[in-house]
C-alpha cells in the first residue's frame, strides 16, 4: 500500500518500473527496492524456509537478516530489501537455500 499523503514527507510520482513476479507482470516505481515494490503490490511472503517450508517475509530491511532472499533473474539469495528494482527484472520466491545453475 503506497502512502499518498504524509504530514512531513513528499512522495512525488515516480516513473513506473515494469517487472515480473512469479511470471506475472507487476509495476513498481523508480527508487523502490524489490521488496518495497512487492509490498506496495500487497506481497509480503518473499521466500520459504528451508526445513519446514514456512512462508517468510523480510524482518530488518537493511540487509542483515537474510529473510528477504529471492531469486532475481535466475540468481538466488538476492537481498531484495536493499537491491534496487530495475526494469524487466524477473523475481520469484525462493524455496530453501537456492542453487546456482
Amino acid at each position: 500500500m503506497r502512502i499518498e499523503q504524509h504530514p512531513i514527507l513528499d512522495f512525488p510520482e515516480r516513473k513506473p518500473i515494469a517487472f515480473t513476479f512469479e511470471g506475472g507482470p507487476m509495476l513498481g516505481r523508480e527508487g523502490d527496492t524489490i521488496a518495497a515494490a512487492l509490498h506496495a503490490n500487497g506481497i509480503s511472503a518473499l521466500s520459504e524456509s528451508s526445513e519446514l517450508h514456512r512462508p517468510r517475509g523480510f524482518y530488518c530491511a537493511i540487509g542483515n537478516c537474510s529473510s528477504c532472499h529471492m531469486v532475481v533473474d535466475g540468481i538466488p539469495n538476492v537481498k531484495t530489501c536493499i537491491t534496487p528494482l530495475r526494469e524487466g527484472m524477473a523475481v520469484t520466491r525462493q524455496a530453501g537455500k537456492g542453487a546456482y545453475r
Partner: protein, 364 residues
Amino acid sequence: MIEKELVIVGAGPAGLCAARIAAEAGCRVLLIDRSPLLGGQLIKQTHKFFGSEQQRAKTRGFRIAEALVADLKPFGDTVEIWQEATVVGAYPDSVLTVWTNGEYRKIHFQSLILAVGAGERSLAFENNDLPGVYGAGAVQTLMNVYGVLPGKEVVMIGSGNIGLIVCYQLIQAGAVVKALVEAAPKIGGYKVHASKLRRLGVPILTRTTVVRALGDSAVKGVVLSGLDENWNPIPGTESEIACDAVCVAVGLSPLYQLAWMLGAEIPYVGELGGMVPLLDENRQTTVSGVFAAGDASGVEEASSAMVGGRLAGLHAARFLGHLHPDHTAIDTECRAQLSSLRGGPFGAKIRAGLKKAEVKVHAR
C-alpha cells in the same frame, strides 16, 4: 587485490563523520556501504532529533544524513564511495572481500574503521516468522524511505524510544496502532513520546507480552498475555487483537561479525547491546590499525555515533601518519562532547558498559 589506505565500512553517521575528518587530515579514504542510500539509520528518521545542538539536534534525521553527505563533497578527490557494496569477509592479513554488482572484490587496507551499526533483535513467540512480523526499524524504512505501508492495523511490541517513535510515524503515515505492548511495568522510552501516543488514543499495555501471532501465510492477529512480577504469563489473561502487521522493537545488537573475523577481542557487554570489540581510548580494537565507532561498538545514538566517528577518523589518520592540523583541539572537543552526551542518569548504563569494553593495549 585493490590497495587502499583507509577503508571505512558503513556510511551511517559514524562512518560519514569518520570519513570527513580523516580526509581533512590528508588520508585517502574508501567508504563502503551495502545500501543504495547513504546515511545509515538516519535516512528513515523523520522526527526531530534529541541531543545537543553540536550534533544537530532539533533537525530531522534524514536532513542530518543529507548534511553529512554534503560535508564530504569538498573531498570528492580523496574520498571514494562504493554504494550497494557489501563487505562479506574480513581477514587478519588486512584483507576485506566485497560483493558488489555481481562482482567479488578483494581489498588490502592499511587501516580500517568498522562503522557497520547494529541489527534489530527478534523476540521468541509462536509464529514469529510469519510474513507481517517486522522489526520496527524495517517498517520505518519501508514507510519513510519508500513510501509503502506494510499494514493498516499494527501492534507494536516494545516501548523504548524506537517503539514509541515508530508508533507515531505509523499514525502519521495513515496506519492505526491497535496497541503498544510492553513487558516491563512501565514505558521504556522518553515520557514526551509516550504522552503523544496517549493523546492520540493508542492503548499502552504494560506488563503484557505477545505469545503468538495468528495467520497462515501472513499475520492476521496476535494473542497477548498479562505478565506477573516474574515476567511469567498469567493464565486466563490471554486476549486476541486483529492486525495485519506486528512490529518488534526490543532493541538492537551491534554487528560484531567483521571485527570477529579479524580476530579482535569481542566480549559480551549487555549494557552496550551484545558482543562489542574491546577498544582503547582512541577507539582502536585489539587488532592494530582497526578502529570501531558508532552502534557497532555499543548501541547508543546518532549523536554519539557522529562524535565517536570523528574520534575514530582522527586517530586512524594519525595511525597512518596523517596528523590532522587541529588534532589536539578536535580530540579534546570530541571527548568533552562524548562525556556530556553520556552524562546524567540516562547515560549511566552506557558508562558502565564502556568501562567493561575499554582496554589500554595500544596506549602510546
